[in-house]
């Protein structure tokens, strides 16, 4: 097993049980996963396989019932023990990209991205500067003052990626980020995620059903009945 210190995220034997007694359901039955900084891995599996439960556990939204989870060098869960402030953990250490961008409709593009550092207590000017740098890197700086409703689907998703990256989290969890996009835009999003992972040394887990992007991953975790197995992917670099 690899050294956990070397990974953006490292989970061992992660379990999650819903309910108790006869009606208990084991959604995760000892999941192992490691994603290195700068790496983008795929997480695929059929409906009901435990993908969303795993994502929620990784996102510190629900509490696992067993196992160990480490973000960078920080243990956040270990067999019943968990880190105290999950809200701050989500804010500072985990970025989220959703199937729909879920941008805050009443904030412009810059403030949608700058909101996170502001919530973390950074000054407004610094937060906006950081947001603009990311928007520049993601080629949406020209829409910095636009409202989310004025953006195309692809632009919205790039803004959502900028928001996920703005606090420089060690891990980004992307939940079917290409689902609403056509092939060209979906592959563009994956290219952006790869570029950002490299640039910011972020570990990115992409949950997907999308057949057209699965060949882009170098490593893929298949999940079925609450257990994962790793597979080496094609790692195609679509231009």
């Amino acid at each position: 097993m690899a050294d956990p210190q070397g990974y953006g995220i490292h989970i061992e034997g992660l379990k999650k049980r819903y309910g108790a007694g006869d009606t208990a359901v084991d959604a995760l039955r000892g999941v192992d996963m490691q994603v290195a900084p700068g790496e983008v891995v795929g997480l695929v599996g059929p409906s009901g396989s435990g993908k969303t439960t795993l994502l929620k556990c990784l996102g510190a939204v629900i509490e696992p019932t067993g196992g160990r989870m480490t973000l960078g060098s920080e243990v956040i869960y270990h067999d019943g023990w968990k880190i105290g402030d999950l809200r701050a953990l989500r804010r500072d250490k985990i970025g989220f990209v959703f199937q729909a961008p879920y941008l805050i409709p009443f904030l412009d593009v810059t403030d949608n991205v700058a909101l996170l550092p502001m919530l973390a207590g950074r000054p407004n000017a610094e937060s906006r500067q950081r947001a603009l740098e990311l928007l520049e890197a993601l080629d949406v700086a020209h829409r910095a003052k636009a409202m989310p409703s004025q953006l195309s689907g692809g632009e919205q998703q790039r803004v959502a990626i900028a928001r996920a990256l703005v606090n420089r989290p060690p891990v980004i969890l992307a939940d079917e980020p290409t689902a609403p996009l056509d092939s060209e835009r979906a592959l563009a999003v994956i290219r952006i995620l790869n570029r950002m992972a490299q640039q910011y040394q972020t570990a990115i887990i992409v949950v997907t059903h999308d057949e057209k992007i699965i060949p882009t991953f170098r490593r893929i975790y298949h999940i079925r009945d609450g257990q994962t197995h790793e597979e080496v992917g094609e790692g195609r670099n679509f231009k």
Binding site: T52, V61, F96, Y102, L107, L119, M147, D175
Partner: protein, 397 residues
């Protein structure tokens, strides 16, 4: 940190403004109801102030002349003039009635006064005071009468010689001042048929129509046709005397009821308009509850419309208090928009009311505080709903 509530309001300003206008109209009605009550109290105080009296002498064991009927002989004032501390005393009558003006009736209080005595209107906005003993009138401008116009009270016609302002009864009816003798007659004046009937009955009564006592029947009929009563005597006291100091000897030696200004104000406010005040109080409570329910419903609905955004905010690490603050600020913002609209609306429509509506700055300040408290309380439901949102909802699954 940016103001999430402010941004949301700016983003959906149309929704907020229109909702605020709707709420504002309700707040305007609430402020107006408070103004109606204040107007009633002010009318009562104006009635006392305009009478120019320091003491009201009325029939014993009554709360007259405004809250109950009171009847005194019209010569009792003479005895009072000799009492210690009495500067001036004058009879007065009050009769609320329909005054005929051309083809229409005007509800007014006819006040019988002694020219140049207590009870006479303190100031005029046009014309002059009553100088003749009969058939002249000074009217409040709210009656709609003009100088020189002829009005009819009972069977007699009067010429409006003066106009005054804010001279109203405790129920807000404008006053028409006429000479005391005319007013006394108006109170008891019967129609011709009734007079004929009364004389026939008196003539048929052997006790009054004695052949051996010539002149008795005429004397009785004459007494039946005249009115020697007034409703009250208004007394002004000499400088240096306390009201109670003058009132007490009148009570004791004249065996009449005497009220000081403070006592009369208590009667008018605490007794005469107490029921109306309770009625208005009930309206205010209901309107406050309705306003709270509307604000709660609006804020709750607006919050439910943002559940996904709230889930995302929670997922990305927004504190609960930031989210609660956003909802609270929106509720307060809505309340402030509503209050501005309500206050403006009430200020514009208050003068259109037939009776005096007094919008006091103190009531507006209390109303503003109440609106903010109601909005804060009304946002609790929405805040509870928002805080219950699971950040996991943003992830779906």
């Amino acid at each position: 940190m940016i103001s999430l509530a402010g941004r949301d309001i700016l983003h959906a300003w149309g929704k907020f403004v229109f909702t605020g206008v709707g709420l504002g109209l309700l707040i305007g009605v609430t402020l107006t109801m408070a103004g109606v009550y204040r107007g009633m109290v002010d009318d009562a105080k104006v009635l006392l102030g305009n009478s120019g009296a320091d003491l009201w002498v009325v029939q014993k064991d009554t709360l007259g002349p405004y809250a109950e009927s009171s009847s005194l002989y019209d010569d009792v004032y003479r005895g009072m003039l000799g009492m210690p501390g009495v500067e001036r005393a004058a009879n007065v009558t009050y009769l609320t009635m329909q005054v005929r003006h051309g083809e229409r009736d005007v509800r007014a209080m006819a006040v019988g006064i002694v020219p140049d005595g207590p009870g006479e209107p303190a100031y005029l906005i046009a014309g002059r005071q009553i100088t003749r003993g009969h058939y002249e009138a000074v009217a409040d401008k709210a009656t709609g009468f003009s100088l020189g116009e002829r009005i009819r009270i009972r069977r007699n016609h009067y010429t409006v010689v003066g106009l005054t302002r804010r001279m109203v009864s405790s129920s807000g009816d404008p006053m028409v001042f006429i000479p005391l003798k005319d007013a006394q007659e108006a109170q008891f004046l019967k129609d011709n048929d009734a007079i004929v009937q009364q004389r026939r009955r008196t003539t048929a009564n052997p006790a009054f129509n004695r052949p051996g006592v010539p002149g008795l029947l005429d004397a009785v009929i004459a007494s039946q046709s005249s009115n020697a009563f007034v409703n009250a005597v208004l007394v002004q006291i000499k400088p240096g005397y306390a009201a109670e100091e003058v009132a007490e000897p009148i009570r004791r030696w004249k065996r009449l009821q005497v009220y000081t200004r403070a006592q009369m104000e208590e009667i008018l406010v605490a007794k005469l308009i107490a029921t109306s005040a309770k009625q208005i109080g009930m309206f205010l409570v209901i309107l406050a509850i309705v306003s709270a329910a509307i604000v709660a419903f609006i804020i709750y609905t607006l919050t439910l419309g943002k559940i996904r955004e709230i889930a995302v905010l929670k997922l990305i690490g927004t504190r609960n208090r930031t989210i609660a603050g956003m909802i609270l600020q929106q509720a307060l913002g809505l309340g402030m928009i509503g209050f501005v609209v309500g206050k403006t609306a009430a200020t514009f429509w208050a003068p259109l009311f037939p009776k005096y509506v007094l919008l006091e700055p103190g009531d507006a300040a209390r109303g503003f505080a109440a609106v903010l408290v109601i909005c804060a309380l009304a946002s609790v439901l929405a805040i509870r709903a928002a805080l219950k949102v699971d950040p996991a909802e943003a992830i779906g699954g």
